[in-house]
């Protein structure tokens, strides 16, 4: 199963390899006629240049890699689409690399950087609690997008684009309080990590405090473990558990929209109504939150703007402007949907 190489093509055409290379890469200094002949032979022999060899040789490729943690999270969909559009417009190649749960994003980046001679990297999602030192090892520019509150965990010298999870979840829980809710459950997960659950929980606590409401451990409901943690199923099962427990809360703050939707379904199946029996609030502002019935009250993250800001920083860094490194915090927007109600 030996595959055809540039040498074979050269032989078949009776020319040198460098001539073939010039033909392939549209380099100047080649006779149009020989070029055509070579291209025709290539066409017929189903020759495909080996990218590994190319990467090895080429000093720099115009490529940006986006590393996502949790690619099946639909929150990332519009961000990825925007990245793709933006990067294409810049005539760069876009590579999307997914990182699974137990992989270390920075290690993958380190490998990829060498392998592909990247121009830049975007880390989308994920946690970086103790990878700061490893991040320093990267030699190409990178930006963190939607990584959990980098401004606090990481240094100011690490460029990032995000929303202040703590502040925004404060905002939505405060809203729940403002429409009369005094007994608000939170669907979240243990705060062991420094991930979204932690920060959104902080916001929840602050809002309660501001409104003079006591924080009760019994109002905290833990979501499923594992990679289904933030899914509809997780919200559904957690809500079922809550309903069975005879909780007296009047509102639920779900750590994201998918969980909120699952909760709504469980409430519906119990013969109760959202928002009449329970108000339910989510977080993220997924498209689905607007098509769901009832539409979900949520915090909309300005995903397109965040994606653009991320790449603007990245490309400026690529152009050598290191002064641009910054932590951009976008404001979220409280979207009042049909899933919450004054009490």
């Amino acid at each position: 199963m030996k595959s055809v190489t540039i040498k074979d093509i050269a032989k078949m055409c009776g020319v040198g390899v460098s001539t073939v290379s010039r033909a392939i890469n549209d380099k100047p200094g080649i006779n149009a006629e020989t070029k055509n002949k070579i291209l025709k032979v290539i066409e017929e022999s189903n020759y495909v240049p080996n990218n590994s060899a190319r990467n090895l040789k080429r000093s720099e490729n115009e490529i940006i890699a986006v590393l996502v943690q949790g690619i099946n999270n639909s929150f990332f969909n519009p961000i990825i689409s925007e990245f793709e559009k933006f990067i294409k417009k810049k005539k760069y190649t876009f590579i999307l690399q997914q990182i699974d749960e137990y992989q270390d994003g920075v290690s993958v980046a380190l490998e990829l950087e060498k392998e592909k001679r990247l121009k830049g990297i975007v880390f989308l999602g994920g946690m970086f609690h103790n990878s700061k030192r490893k991040l320093d090892k990267l030699s190409v520019p990178f930006v963190l997008c939607t990584v959990s509150v980098p401004g606090k965990n990481l240094g100011r010298d690490i460029p990032s684009v995000s929303v202040d999870d703590e502040k925004e979840s404060f905002k939505i829980v405060d809203y729940l309080c403002s429409i009369g809710h005094k007994n608000i459950a939170i669907f979240s997960s243990p705060e062991v990590d420094e991930g979204i659950s932690y920060h959104r929980m902080q916001g929840y606590k602050m809002a309660l405090k501001k409104n003079g409401i006591a924080y009760l451990d019994s109002n905290v409901y833990n979501l499923l473990d594992g990679n289904e943690r933030y899914s509809e199923k997780s919200g559904y099962l957690t809500a079922k558990k809550m309903l069975e427990s005879g909780s007296e809360c009047t509102a639920i703050f779900a750590v994201n929209d998918s969980v909120a939707i699952g909760a709504c379904r469980a409430i519906y199946e119990a013969g109760l109504k959202v928002p009449d029996d329970y108000s339910v609030a989510g977080y993220d502002g997924l498209d689905m939150s607007r098509y769901y019935i009832p539409s979900i009250t949520t915090i909309r993250q300005p995903v397109e703007d965040m994606a653009d800001a991320t790449l603007n920083i990245l490309f400026k860094m690529i152009d050598g402007d290191e002064s641009i490194k910054q932590n951009i915090i976008f404001p979220g927007k409280l979207i009042v949907g049909e899933s919450t109600k004054e009490i």
Copy 2:
């Protein structure tokens, strides 16, 4: 920004490159002491082996690539998860490559095959109407999964796993007829391509015919163009258009669940009810179709089983069993949800 290579490490340790190589790759025939020393130096010098060089040298890597067309389609999520699990269990490396709308999947595969020395390829989604010849150029085993009715468009010699879109959409439209609907709209897209729209439309027509109902062009509503075609938004806008047109249909067959959900929302916003005013049916059996209120009547595709079958075929082919090549057609399952009603 010259990066450190295996030679540098060798020099720093005062050993030869092959010794370093042995240390990195856990090869036998190396003194434990020198190995430890080398690994320590590597650790300190943030050396990362270059994968391009490795791929170039190595004859075969234990890796399977999955090429998806339309990665933000949540229908693929559980399939991808299953692939990942399965491939990891086989101790293979899993690579997910996304293919954008205007890219040719087979070309990407051809490149990747050379670049990474793959063991096998899965094509997930997408259309292959006239890539059959190109497919022949691939020299590693591959299987098509969820590619539009390969049994009909392609030859029997191309292994595939899918559901019979025509038959299944017949099934669900026939169900709508069986509960009394005689005026059924379809939300689809122009049949120019050989994609899902075409086959599901065929099933729709067949079901009408079987039930003695005339097919009306006026009952066909075209979805949005472009990559939002099969989204909730598309279903939403199309339903709005339909409602304004004063259609007299009593049921809607949406080409997939997302479209069905968008349609439900539009009907809701018009002050009408699903299923009382309109029955709405979808296709795919997304998780969301079960959490939506009302839950969506749909055809559930057995995604996990399909994923497993795909890889079983692929691995058998990798093991040299060419006789296994086949077109497996899984049956879909009609899930009657709350979005449809007898009339």
